[in-house]
Amino acid sequence: MREIVSMIVVLSAICAASGFSLAYLKQTTQPTIEAQVLTYVQGPAIERVYPAASNKPVEERKAFELEGRKVMVFPYKDGDKLLGVALENKAGGFGGDIGVMVGFNLSNDTLLGIGVTTMSETPGLGTKVAEPKFSKQFVGSGLSVDLKSKGGNIDAVSGATVSSTGAVAAVQAAARDYQALKAEIQKTWQ
């Protein structure tokens, strides 16, 4: 009996101590990690979306409230004129969520391009959704994109239907966010 009690007490104490210390560490590192992700994950994705930007989209980003979520919007400017914005959304893929950064042209509501930020798809198959062959199909397309199998004009990656569907769903979700936020975005940067 004594032994069982001591086992329970010691193990609980160890687990509690590690739980508390990790929660504390997680909280203290959170802002730094977010900044790192912006630099190393979202930054390069934005560069793929609009390489010609003359401003610094990551530094000039602004957060918008939408249906209780925080949506980060990255402006794309030429000089002082706001040409477009990029925002990220995600949807379920084959191995987890696929995050896609989507650039929108403000003047005619078309897509400037997409860049995959995070994914855990099968290497060599699902990861092809991040390659130009797939992603460049989105450039210039309207806001209602869809796969060819569903009446749209995007060719899915063969052998990676789920990943392709996920990527397209993420783009659609971003497009919905964009439509909902467009008025607010134009007010903010004009």
């Binding site: 990790l22 730094t32 790192q36």
Partner: protein, 220 residues
């Protein structure tokens, strides 16, 4: 002091993992695509190993025998998550490279092996010296292995191109088979060296050369 040095230095040659203490092979094979990756993985292992050794040694008297493995793993896991968070916060590109292998340090046999064989039976200062020695040995080994593979597979070292012009990279070396070939070759070399050295010294040939003589016998 002398005993601390003895525990520290054994990790650098006599029981250097993974060449003598053949443990922790999964990350060894997977992350040593470049010298930098090997070095980064080694640093993470040093951090986890020293802290987990010290912690386990500090609480070794209150841990009930029957649940000791669970306790060791819980403490090692805490250290690993801490490393993961710190890596994400300060060395994000390295974290992207090492990816899944950082959380997998939890089940790295070296951590549990040192906890069970050494830290659970020795005072804190010896456990720290042991962890540091084994960790540094592991880092040296991984950096060397990574450097070797990077040199032949990509023609560079720590990201700088060093091979003469016209060198055709031997791409197999940075793929998975290259890891096995390199590690196997190095293990064979180490064994060969051990045999030659014991012949020269007139000592008896070790029966099980790769494990050193008493790597897991903490009572000695």
């Amino acid at each position: 002091m002398a005993s601390m040095w003895k525990e520290f230095s054994k990790g650098l040659w006599a029981e250097i993992p993974p060449f003598r203490l053949v443990l922790g092979l999964c990350p060894t094979l997977a992350v040593t695509k470049s010298a930098e990756n090997g070095f980064g993985m080694g640093m993470a292992v040093i951090f986890v190993l020293v802290l987990s050794n010290v912690l386990i040694s500090a609480v070794r008297k209150i841990i009930p025998k029957k649940v000791r493995i669970v306790c060791f793993i819980a403490m090692a896991a805490t250290m690993v998550v801490a490393v993961e968070l710190l890596m994400q916060a300060f060395t994000y590109p390295l974290y992207q490279q090492l990816g899944i292998f950082v959380p997998l340090i939890v089940v790295n046999c070296i951590i549990l092996g040192r906890a069970e064989a050494f830290a659970a039976k020795n005072p804190i200062h010896l456990a720290a010296a042991d962890g540091l020695g084994i960790g540094i040995g592991y880092t040296l080994a991984l950096t060397f292995l990574g450097g070797l593979r990077e040199l032949f597979g990509a023609g560079s070292l720590f990201g700088h191109y060093v091979m003469p012009e016209g060198f055709v990279p031997f791409a197999l070396m940075v793929e998975a088979p290259g890891a096995f070939i390199c590690l196997g070759g190095l293990l064979a070399l180490m064994n060969c060296l051990t045999i030659v050295m014991s012949r020269r010294g007139g000592r008896e040939l070790p029966v099980n050369a790769p494990c050193g003589a008493d790597c897991c016998d903490a009572n000695k």
